[in-house]
């Protein structure tokens, strides 16, 4: 009986399979696919974290109610006292008109039920000096035309008051008018325009010299360092593909550069390249390989050379390891048979080794190319993109735009460009490699 009940809860193999896959799929969607889609969406806006007028994604005109309510509270009082202190009948009249106009816009604004509730809530919070943290409460969408009219009305009234202030002979009155004028101008700034700009940022970057330079640097770095890594890695793999004593030492010494953090490696190389106390810079200078010890980190060519050398040092061992694993799957009998037929070593390499190693080489190249194209830590820590942006990769440029300038709109354009480039590169490789990529996994 008990057993039977238990059976009732049992999942079939299929159901279990889906139940096991779904959590990971959800995670991948939430932490990988959604952020990339969001980056793309952000790139369509003029979105800057450090500018209160543009720190939101606004498809339509929006009002910053927290600041607006705060400013509006003072407007009434200040206009009242201006009407009282005006030095001419005409000016008092103007102030009254302004007061009426603003009041009519304001009542139109709060005639919206939702906005009215929000305004009351914010009023209460402000009375208690509590900042409004909930962005749902703080921001409210507005009709584009109304927002435009209200903003322009505030701006023109502000100009009127400034004119009065400048014309007034009395210093105190002049100051009072100027103060209110500033208040109206700042209130106008609380009514925000939509910052949706579509593909405008992309157009801008297509013409941006620095973007193309960063792209060129990245492509150059990727091609040269991956080419060196492949040739050196293959050479090392061919040489150590035999039985010998001390394999363990080789394996460990090859793995350590791969295993240490790139940032730590970059700091180490920064020391070795240093113009004053760097040993590598010193030896290369003594051997006349480079013009001077400071050449490495203070010139454009030197900077590029430095990051490529450091990258080759860090990843050639990894490449050799992958290729060695590929070499070991080639049956020795092939070489024996070809020797009997009179083939020499060179012929064996081109006719047997390379063709059979093709898929291993392509897979290794795929992963290395993508890694190299996304390069960030090595450059950011070793040269910071310098000197004069000569080693700046596209990822470093994107990072600086995003976090140093706090410009999430333009930075997202750059990160979408990185994403698209990576997608194109992987597409080409996957076409070349074909179904071998999935070998040994799915049926």
């Amino acid at each position: 009986m008990k057993n039977k009940k238990k059976r009732g809860f049992q999942l079939s193999e299929k159901q279990l399979g889906y139940a096991m896959v779904i959590p990971s799929l959800i995670l991948v969607i939430v932490v990988v696919l959604w952020p990339v889609a969001q980056s793309f969406y952000n790139s369509l806006f003029d979105y800057r974290l450090n500018d209160p007028a543009r720190s939101q994604l606004m498809l339509s005109a929006t009002i910053d109610l927290e600041r607006y309510v705060d400013n509006h509270f003072y407007i009434e009082g200040q206009l009242d006292s201006l009407a009282g202190s005006a030095d001419s009948e005409e000016n008092a009249e103007t102030v009254k008109e302004i007061q009426q106009d603003i009041e009519s816009y304001h009542s139109e604004l709060i005639s919206d039920e939702e906005i009215n509730t929000k305004v009351e809530k914010i009023d209460e919070l402000l009375m208690n000096f509590t900042p409004v943290r909930d962005s749902e409460l703080k921001y409210s969408k507005l009709d584009n035309d109304f927002a435009k009219d209200y903003r322009e009305a505030l701006e023109s009234h502000s100009a009127e008051l400034t004119a009065i202030a400048e014309a007034s002979g009395d210093e105190q009155t002049s100051q009072a008018f100027q103060q209110t004028s500033d208040l109206l101008a700042s209130t106008a700034g609380n009514i925000l325009k939509s910052n949706f700009i579509g593909l405008e940022n992309y157009g801008k970057y297509m013409k941006d010299q620095r973007m193309w330079k960063a792209m060129g640097n990245t492509a150059f770095f990727t091609v040269v360092s991956v080419a060196f890594e492949l040739v050196l890695g293959l050479a090392v793999a061919l040489l150590i593909n035999r039985a010998f004593k001390g394999r363990g030492i080789i394996r460990a010494s090859v793995l350590i550069p791969w295993a240490i953090p790139t940032a730590v490696a970059a700091m180490m190389w920064g020391f070795l390249y240093d113009g004053q106390s760097g040993i590598v810079a010193h030896y290369l200078e003594v051997l006349n390989v480079i013009p001077g010890a400071s050449w490495l980190l203070s010139t454009s060519d030197g900077g590029m050379f430095s990051i490529i050398l450091a990258d080759v040092w860090k990843t050639t061992p990894y490449m050799a390891l992958l290729l060695l694993a590929g070499l070991q799957t080639i049956p020795g009998s092939l070489y024996e048979a070809s020797s009997v037929d009179g083939a020499n070593k060179v012929q064996q390499f081109w006719r047997i080794t390379l063709p059979l190693l093709k898929s291993s080489i392509l897979v290794a190249l795929l992963f290395r190319t993508l890694d190299a194209f996304r390069v960030f830590d090595l450059i950011y820590v070793l040269t910071g993109g310098g000197p004069a942006n000569a080693t700046e990769s596209i990822s470093v440029y994107a990072y600086k735009t995003l976090f140093a300038q706090q410009n999430f709109g333009e930075g997202s354009v750059l990160s979408v460009i990185v994403f698209l480039s990576v997608a194109v590169i992987s597409f080409i490789y996957v076409k070349l490699i074909g179904s071998d990529l999935f070998a040994g996994r799915a049926k």
Binding site: Q10, E13, K14, M20, V21, P23, S24, L27, V28, V31, V32, P35, V36, Q38, S39, V236, N241, R242, A243, G248, A252, S253, L255, I256, A259, P261, T262, A263, V264, A265, A266, M268, F271, L272, S277, I279, L321, L322, A325, G326, G332, S360, V363, F367, L370, R374, D377, A398, Y399, L402, G411, S415, V416, V418, S426, D436, G440, R441, A442, K443
Partner: protein, 273 residues
């Protein structure tokens, strides 16, 4: 292989290992020099070895705290992603579900996504959740790197286990989940462990997310912490050398102990067997 290793070969090996290890050797030799000597000469060995640089490295910046942070974040990431990934890898390789190719394709694509395209929404998300400068604030973005990696490697290991085992378990009346828990998972344990090491190293080495999300000095991880040793006015190479030696030791130990596993994990994805 019929090639025999001769003297020339060993000479080549020695040169190769020396070149690969040279930066470490030099940094170690620098770390035991008295600070004054570092800037004045290129001599390899110092006559007065001292531990001053080590003391400075540990006291000028909270290096041990960085290591603790890195350890906590990497361990949490490893445990979480192994749990999710072993389920998925098992289902994709051994259970009759549809869309396997699609799932693996998605996972592979996710592992190729550049982190720079993920960072800004992730930064907003973590800020919104109030998780900046905390361990979870890094673990969540690290899943983007570690989960696809773990699924991809684990899938190869699960695939290698003979399918007859499941059939006999089924005949003995085991439920599908029991088969996974009691039979396949224990057999795949070495593979899971290998995957764990690789995921741990990947999380330990991550730089971009750690740099942006945990900007408070007490929450920095090792790679970011090390890169902050240079100040605007001077570069304390002695401190940096000593700090590098300290943070490299755990990795050297890890590699020495588990080198065979690491190599099998690294190459599992790249060769057909």
């Amino acid at each position: 292989m019929n090639k025999r290793a001769g003297i020339g070969f060993y000479l080549f090996l020695i040169i190769f290992v020396f070149l690969v290890m040279f930066p470490f050797i030099w940094v170690f030799l620098t770390s035991i020099k008295p600070p004054g000597e570092i800037f004045s000469s290129f001599r390899w060995f110092t006559k007065n070895p001292s531990l001053d640089s080590y003391e400075a490295a540990l006291t000028n910046r909270p290096l041990l705290r960085y290591m603790l942070n890195s350890f906590a974040v990497s361990s949490l990431t490893t445990i979480l992603s192994l749990a999710f990934a072993s389920f998925t890898a098992y289902a994709v390789t051994r259970l009759p579900i549809k869309g396997k190719g699609l799932i693996l394709g998605l996972v592979l694509a996710a592992s190729m996504f550049p982190q720079i395209a993920i960072i800004s929404p992730m930064f907003n998300l973590v800020t919104g959740l109030g998780l900046r400068n905390s361990y979870m604030g890094l673990v969540i973005p690290y899943i983007t790197i570690s989960l696809p990696l773990a699924i991809w490697i684990l899938a190869t290991f699960f695939k290698k286990i003979p399918f007859e085992l499941e059939e006999s378990a089924k005949l003995d009346g085991a439920s599908p989940f029991q088969t996974f828990r009691k039979i396949i998972f224990p057999l795949a344990a070495p593979g899971v462990f290998t995957t764990g090491i690789l995921v741990f190293i990947a999380a330990w080495n991550e730089y971009l997310f750690a740099l942006t999300i945990n900007s408070d000095d007490m929450w920095r991880t090792v790679p970011v912490g090390i890169s902050m040793y240079q100040s605007q006015y001077s570069v304390p190479w002695g401190d940096i050398s000593a700090a590098t030696v300290i943070v490299t030791i755990p990795i050297v130990i890890l590699v020495l102990f588990f080198q065979k596993r690491i190599v099998s994990g690294l190459t599992s994805g790249s060769v057909k067997e």
